[in-house]
Symmetry: none
Subunit: 145 residues, 4 copies
């Protein structure tokens, strides 16, 4: 697993790390028992400071997702992606089709992001009680009357 940090996004580096681990868990790219890259690897690969990585890993540990074993590394303890990988893949490929069309219609990544967020916001009001998701984007969103 490899991290990419976007320094201009405004989101703190350690939260980007946390988020990317959570995403990998949700997508099934990481599973219980897997070892996260060592702090030193992440430092070498992404340019952030070691303490930033430690902070991210500690946050993940506090939320029960990973477990640090001194001297041997940090390991995934619990999964997040409860969805059947096949279903996931089906959804993913249909999404990919949609994204391609959107791009052909001239939308860029930010447009697409805005669209998705707006649909999720509407949809979220319907799904409501689902949440407890943690650091999701729920709650942020635009409303025009």
């Amino acid at each position: 697993m490899e991290f990419r940090i976007d320094r201009s996004s405004g989101l703190p580096a350690y939260l980007q790390l946390v988020r990317q681990v959570r995403e990998a868990l949700r997508l099934g790219w990481l599973e219980p028992g897997d070892r996260l890259p060592t702090v030193r690897d992440v430092v070498a690969g992404s340019g952030v400071n070691a303490n930033t990585v430690l902070k991210a890993y500690r946050e993940l540990e506090l939320s029960g997702l990973v477990e640090a074993r001194q001297g041997s590394g940090t390991f995934v303890k619990a999964g997040l992606g409860s969805t059947d990988p096949e279903v996931m893949n089906a959804l993913r490929s249909r999404l990919a089709v949609w994204v391609r069309e959107a791009r052909e219609a001239g939308l860029d990544a930010e447009d697409i992001d805005a669209l998705v967020r707006s649909v999720l916001a509407v949809d979220g009001d319907r799904a409501a009680a689902g949440g407890a998701g943690g650091q999701t984007n729920e709650g942020e969103g635009v409303a025009v009357r």
Copy 2:
């Protein structure tokens, strides 16, 4: 237009405001000539401090999207949504269908977000130079080999 800020997202409040205005522009919910809510309104509606709103509006003004007219408010100067509203709506409704299916398959907002981001990341490598840049999420993304 109404702002919602999520204090626990890690993203600075003023950037959430900026982002939401940009999203509204991209989605065609705001158009040149429209007036943004007054600072006072935003304060009342979202609980942030007036200085935070001012900072967001100033930032939008610096990027040329809005214009403050002394005594009468802040107005949209330029659009961002260059896409034909009909096409936009078509894309939007197809997206909504996909989202509904995803939700029925058990994915929550964070799952969906992760999926979208991962598809955009792959897709981004292909589209590369495409985006107008700005504060997009491009660049952040997970890679597992």
Copy 3:
């Protein structure tokens, strides 16, 4: 509220801070709505580094006990001490009597601590399922056969 850090205890300073806040909550000395001392106050009063305090406060925030409000301080969000203050005081004064006797019998603080821990350990095996307490001492303890 005032913190005291024991640098020779082996327990990390930030955990001592966390523990002391938890204790104050359990004893009813802190209640929801109360403001914790500012980071700067703690630094001035206890000699630890600001980041150490921030780390402690952040940990408390992640566990849902306090809430940081930028620019205005850190506030207690949830209580821990569900016990009736009167009952608490009764127990406390009876304990104080016992402690006095123990001291008169020649036990020092470490002896008393050892005794309490050993009684709790035995007792804990009986109470068993109670826990989920978090960073309690449960689990550590001596057993001689």
Copy 4:
């Protein structure tokens, strides 16, 4: 004698071992001449690394409490529990009564710990120079004004 180490307590593993030996000495569970479990036993029984156990034993030896005899094991050299076993037992059983009442009043182990520590802290100010020092908890404690 059997050790239990709590990996989530924040206290270094080797200090937990040292502490448990000291407690056993104070409570009279270990006496001069007794043999401590071999390093191998401790490793098998508690999961820590052999070096960690060695470090704990070395520390105990440095403080004069135990003595390593090449080829035959590590033996208790000096006691810590100077208190008459009968008095100790009397105190212990009265403590047990109190603990039972506390538990019935709804206090859990962490509550009890907090209470004991707070009483000891107050009491400590009175007894002052009393303690033999060492790695006691003296000095840490909460004060609310």
